[in-house]
Symmetry: C2
Subunit: 373 residues, 2 copies
């Protein structure tokens, strides 16, 4: 495509006006960018600081209104309908490319794509019927995880099968939609790697992040991870690079990995900025949000070098007293402007220190403050 | 006053919607704050990301509309009419306190106030008539600087008197308004200190900043300054503390100083966030913008410790190619969304490095990019 974004004051359209969109806008204003959001939920987090159109991603008239005058479109979540993105791509530039969306919207396509690139993944099998589930269990063994192929996030649409006794109940709960069975991985750690690729093919990687989930929701990320070998970082970068290049990707890409016996298995990818990269706002020379915007608008990618040591704690369901949080030295509070609701991501706190030795002690104080809310 | 800001989603009113207001809003959204601006110029820099009421600061009806529902009012420039601030102070909390405005709006009151606090200042004299000017020249000696007592900024409203031949012309150009004559200070360096005081009296100081002006406009700030003794930092902090405490100040206060033979003379103060503190966005643990908002809304002040070494280059009159700026490692671009116009501050670039040795070389590259625009 020969069009390129307007150099001054580009108007960027973002599908989805949640916290990721909000943090993209906060990173983009200093670069002179302006933003328009489309999201079906009124008064979404990004609406406090930019124009939000309220409407469905399937409403073609709304998409036309949204596209009017935009220099560029991006998205904050991977479950936006591919048809909407294709329609927008006929009107303006869309990054990351629709092909990346297609691959990542379906767990089976995604894992098959990883395999096609020579990237190791846990054992997996497509499940289309009760008989198919039995065959998959036979092939993969137990424990295993049954997942919907589409629309899963934060642990939703998943069931762990520990013994053959669990198979019937899981099928009754989830059967009738496309499913995938994945071998349960006895991982030592869950990691992720944030990478970014520019229009001209320039690529950069952030250091590996260690992630801790509870009830399927990311609670804590640590970056850069302590005790990671250069080999493991290189392995992660090599997998990310294959994905970026194969998809002719533009923007930030997140890949979640399992560390098992000194090797990495790729779990899944997100063609967007990612919760496990929030630490980069304070903890890296250039944040994932700024680098995503720089990449998609044809600007050079900024340094991904870490600035000290960071821990990001997600605020789920309820908010702590901001004053108590901010009493902890090096704590940076990020609220998303959302009403509290169980299991909802309402904000995060990034704790940044120059000295890794004090990170643990301050994090313990912070967790104490957060747990008492 | 017993009212305190609403703990969740405080709505903060800001008088002035320029770049300082814009950067305050960018720092405040992550803290869950919302903003409303009042500024007579439509489509001001902050209007891109918050509500802006367009109207005069002297329009009482407009001030009532502005105040409606606000938890707190602050301002981004010190020339807002004191009457407006007093009216607002009857409706809601106003920080910094109106008394600080009063003192800083008049160069003679300001210098007299510094003297009353035992803070050394250059020689100065009030000038109300041509005879008064002659007497002041006699008293202070030449060279000296004749300034308007009110509404001066970025070198506007000033004339340097090098010999008695200059006196007549300066009087013809500036006479008829309240003036002040200040002794010309043969300074080694111009410095500034950013300080912040919370509602509860907690005080913090950023490290001294070295400033370089041209044609009366700040061009370059370096922080922390190299080769500053602990005594000089303490001297600056002690002067700032006297001002903060005497005015029962709340918020960020900037004080400009001259370094002369290892001693400091105070030049002027600004009761607000300040151009010489922009480096704190990337170069300090907590930015001046965030700390101003934390202070005025009753939150604990964040660490003012520097993170590495920073240089901030102002973009005056014309903008460089963003791509060339962002090619320089560690360069962070901040555009204000203003139309280019001679002598206008359009943005700034902060260069941050961990290693002070590379700062000079990168800064030279950056100046080269900026000078070619």
């Amino acid at each position: 495509m020969m069009r390129s974004p307007t150099p001054d004051t580009p108007l960027i359209g973002i599908l989805g006006a949640g916290q990721l969109g909000r943090m993209l806008a906060l990173a983009g204003y200093p670069l002179g960018m302006r933003f328009r959001f489309l999201d079906p939920t009124p008064a979404s987090p990004a609406s406090h600081l930019a124009e939000q159109l309220v409407g469905s991603y399937s409403d073609h008239d709304m998409l036309e209104r949204f596209a009017d005058g935009l220099d560029l479109v991006t998205y904050e979540f991977e479950n936006v309908p591919v048809d909407a993105v294709r329609l927008l791509a006929e009107r303006t530039l869309v990054y990351p490319p629709p092909g990346a969306l297609l691959v990542s919207q379906d767990r089976f396509s995604e894992k098959s794509f990883f395999v096609s690139q020579g990237i190791p993944v846990p054992a997996f099998a497509e499940v289309g019927s009760r008989e198919g589930l039995d065959a998959a269990v036979e092939k993969i063994g137990l424990p295993a995880v049954l997942k919907t192929r589409r629309f899963g996030y934060d642990g939703k649409g998943q069931a762990v099968l520990r013994s053959t006794d669990d198979v019937g109940a899981a099928w009754r709960a989830m059967g009738g939609q496309p499913l995938i069975l994945e071998g349960f991985v006895p991982f030592e750690r869950e990691l992720s790697i944030l990478s970014v690729r520019a229009v001209n093919g320039q690529v950069a990687f952030y250091p590996l992040v260690e992630n801790h989930h509870r009830e399927g929701i990311l609670r804590l990320s640590l970056a850069p991870v302590q005790g990671i070998t250069a080999e493991l970082q290189q392995q992660a970068e090599s997998y990310a690079r294959r994905v970026l290049d194969a998809l002719d990707y533009v923007g930030v890409l997140a890949i979640e990995l399992f560390e098992v016996k000194g090797q990495l298995l790729v779990n899944e990818m997100a063609p967007r900025v990612h919760n496990s990269g929030h630490w980069t706002i304070e903890g890296a020379e250039t944040s994932q949000f700024e680098n995503h915007l720089r990449a998609i608008s044809g600007l050079p990618i900024g340094s991904t070098a870490p600035v000290g040591y960071s821990a990001t704690l997600n605020l789920i369901g309820a908010l702590p007293d901001p004053a108590r949080v901010l009493e902890v030295e090096g704590a940076h509070l990020h609220l998303y402007g959302k009403e509290p609701r169980p299991a909802r991501k309402l904000g995060h706190i990034t704790l940044r220190t120059n000295d890794p030795a004090v990170l643990g002690e301050r994090l313990a104080r912070l967790r104490d403050v957060v747990s008492k809310t």
